[in-house]
Symmetry: C2
Subunit: 523 residues, 2 copies
């Protein structure tokens, strides 16, 4: 089945106008099918514009895409990263899937990290960590660090330096005493330009502070030991991860070492367990009772059948505020592809992932979500709301208001407000024909609401793994390789050229715009 033809049946179904509100009347047991619980997560899909019949068709299509076979291949460690001929086993990092040698390596690394973290925490010499890494080596750790704050104490100050902008490393080390600071350089290749430069600047800062002892202060997390050793990291200070771990899937590995040290190995263990529980759910549940499959199919319906260009991710939680940026990478770097695994045109794949925390977004872009211009079939953008039921901040009034707003927004997006209702409210006024339509809300805008019983490390792991497997399922249905990222290569090559030319005052051979910009940078 070609990628496009798999959507034909669905597109025909999608031509009908669906009123989400009316689905609740037509399908009185809608919540039974469209709300799923798994551990501490509850996912309510019932306010999606997906009738029962459409869900049947989506599940049927998923099966016809050989989803169960691909899932088995994933967990069996087959080379599902087809273009690079690599296995994809982030699940093995949390103890699920992978052959015996992989499991052994993971287990040894976990013990090594836990022992190291315990030692640092009890020794007390180090009071700060500067975690240097970018992309997958940054966004996951930042998100999880914030998330851990709900339930755990940060025992060491944890700073991040990711951008090559000098402000990044400057801010990271500001006010810290090098004598009390551990620098952890995280790069799968140990060749990423930003991380190398930040690492070099950090090394110089350490050396200026503690001289030759700088070596005691530097760790590397990498799949390239050789380069780390060349950089000056001691062998015993290198924590490995492997080429079957993609950067954007790597927080579970030694990439998370900073988190283990700052919050403790037990917290990190719980986090891994939460992800492992979702792995097993994904692996074992039939498609129609499978949360990541349901998440994926919802997205496919909105993207390929209702033609929405984007998905807004809005976490109603300050501690999950980095979720939107994290998923922006996870989804767009995995599935932002236009070519299938076999070299053909893929059609519509990954939408734009955007968003910010709630309730903040209500005062920023919700105007557009509720009353914005034509987009997709029903306007606005599909929204994933994420909320935490438990109040971790001992501010019950604040927490109730937070939840009330979250629930009200998905209700408002669905219900809208008719022009008749607006006209009644406005009463008699000269400008009513101009004003009433401006105050009307079309409604019928789809959303999913994910609630976590609490923001525990376990629940956080569960949530992130849910999205990882959603991405995998979508990749299978779109028939793209979710695990490579050739799109980052061209910019890298051109940047290397331009930097060399800037350093040697060589204008090179560029278009007039680029030549002029390079000239500006000289002054």
């Amino acid at each position: 089945m070609t990628t496009k033809s798999r959507f034909n049946v669905l597109e025909a179904l999608a031509e009908d106008e669906v009123s989400i509100s009316e689905l609740f009347e037509k399908e009185p047991d809608r919540l039974n099918r469209f709300v799923m619980r798994e551990g501490p997560l509850r996912v309510d899909f019932s306010k999606q514009a997906i009738p029962n019949t459409a869900l049947d068709a989506l599940l049927s299509m998923a099966a016809q895409c050989d989803l169960e076979e691909w899932r088995a291949k994933l967990f069996a460690g087959e080379a599902v990263n087809t273009s690079e001929d690599r296995a994809v086993l982030h699940m093995a990092l949390r103890g699920v899937g992978g052959a015996k040698d992989v499991q052994r390596d993971v287990s040894q690394m976990r013990q090594h990290m836990a022992a190291y973290a315990d030692e640092i925490r009890s020794d007390g010499k180090f009071k700060n960590i500067v975690h240097i890494g970018i992309g997958g080596s940054d966004l996951g750790p930042r998100l999880v660090s914030d998330g851990f704050e709900a339930c755990a104490e940060q025992s060491l100050t944890l700073r991040f330096a990711e951008n090559v902008d000098g402000a990044s490393i400057n801010d990271a080390v500001k006010g810290l005493d090098p004598a009390e600071t551990l620098v952890i350089i995280v790069s799968k290749s140990f060749g990423t330009q930003e991380t190398k430069m930040n690492g070099e600047s950090a090394r110089a800062w350490l050396t200026a502070g503690v001289g030759a002892a700088a070596g005691d202060h530097m760790l590397a997390v990498t799949a390239n030991r050789t380069r780390a050793i060349d950089f000056g990291i001691r062998e015993e200070n290198i924590f490995d991860f492997w080429d079957w771990v993609g950067g954007r899937y790597s927080v579970w590995s030694a990439v998370g070492l900073s988190l283990q040290i700052a919050y403790g190995p037990d917290v990190f263990s719980d986090f891994l367990e939460g992800a492992a529980a979702m792995d097993k759910h994904f692996r074992d549940q039939p498609l129609q009772e499978n949360l990541p499959v349901m998440m994926a199919l919802t997205g496919i319906w909105n993207r390929n059948c209702l033609n929405y260009s984007s998905l807004a991710v809005i976490p109603y939680s300050r501690r999950l505020r980095k979720l939107s940026a994290f998923l922006q990478q996870l989804e767009m770097e995995s599935n932002g592809k236009r070519i299938t695994r076999d070299g053909n045109e893929a059609g519509l794949t990954c939408p734009i992932i955007w968003g910010d925390e709630g309730t903040n977004g209500q005062h920023a872009f919700f105007q557009w979500l509720h009353q914005g211009p034509s987009e997709g079939k029903y306007g606005g953008a599909p929204v994933d709301f994420v909320a935490i039921l438990k109040d971790h901040e001992n501010r019950p009034d604040h927490h109730k208001a937070l939840l009330a707003n979250c629930f009200a927004q998905s209700e408002a997006l669905m219900l809208g407000k008719s022009e008749d209702a607006v006209r009644q409210e406005l009463g008699d006024r000269d400008d009513i024909d101009a004003l009433a339509p401006q105050k009307t809300f079309p409604g019928n805008r789809p959303s999913t609401t994910i609630t976590l019983d609490e923001l525990s490390p376990f629940a956080l792991g569960h949530l992130i793994a849910l999205y990882e497997h959603k991405v995998f399922v979508q990749g299978v249905i779109w028939n793209v390789n979710s695990f490579d990222q050739w799109g980052v290569e061209l910019g890298k090559v051109l940047a290397t050229t331009i930097l060399e030319e800037m350093n040697t005052d060589d204008p090179g051979n560029h278009d007039a715009s680029t030549t002029a910009l390079m000239g500006l940078a000289k002054t």
Copy 2:
């Protein structure tokens, strides 16, 4: 001219396939027309997919939209906020436009704030500010606070609390001594739920720390004195702003008081001057030599003629990392409207504004920008790159790398990489027919590159005012009211209802999904 018909000529022009690279050959003096300098800003539009002929047509259309008349009305203080019958005079906050009484009020407020800020700074009693506000009362101050860091010292610790999530106020006050802390509550209406609750919690925190002296520690910035006084703010501690200042246009007002105290009135003055200089440019320059007009028309071309759904804003600067979120509000809340001023359908208006800082985004979503699925005419999303030429961090190598990457990305987006070139590189391999297309880059993706000579307060003011006026011009062309935001009302009303019901254990009258969610929140 109806909103839709104004684009007919343009849409016809847009049907031609344009190769951006070839434009440089066909129009050898392209940079003369498509690069504009204004003060410390240089804006390079030349890598947009806009031929000379299209720009002529865009300018012609803009004139036919009565743009010059609307511009004059704006600066004259006429009620361009038609639905609320209000003037729009954020320019007057920096001394441009507005009648004598407005200018007098502004001038008095500026003197009042400067004197107050100087007193606080020299007195030394207060070491911290907690700035409480959300949306326009938050995003502008945060962006500008970051931006000021490039050139100025933050003399007081400045924390922000915006979300009603209890974590927001808890994090804001963490580790601070109430005796040394000034709390500034910023809300035009002094009724915004989040700000009220955060204000109440902050007041309780102050009272617990300093007792009855809490009144010495609280300021209000508002257009509603009465409510502030009821809250317990002393009259002399209230700083006014006016209903002709929209929240998302308000950082220039007393909303920026925290910034004046933390960085000094002179820094803030420079910031206002930078905006004033852009105001005068916008007001006085003919349309064809007018930066905000050019920014707006570029966006119109991409949105209405090339059918792009979004605009990616990517500041290559850590100190401008909040720019994407700030513009997300500024643009989407202003122009995220589907109805014109006279009550008709508006057609395509504001696109989705998204993005994150560079170089970080290169390791997150640039895969999608370069190789993502079909979107708009040429794929990807139009990008506004923003870069600072001067190195403020004393890290010249880092800075050169930062700029090299920025320039390389717009070049890469334009050039792409052909399948032939990829096949040559790959040489002979079995999987070449599958792999070569996956490594191909379609290119021809449009971008604008904005450079600031330095990140001075003046340049920052200049940049933000540029976007403000761009938004105004687009609003005129789309014939929507950029200055109201009815779309935020429905959610507020429903949230109030749901919160009352949650507080009184009343299930209310809701759809099954909302009822169930409210039930979960009870436990």
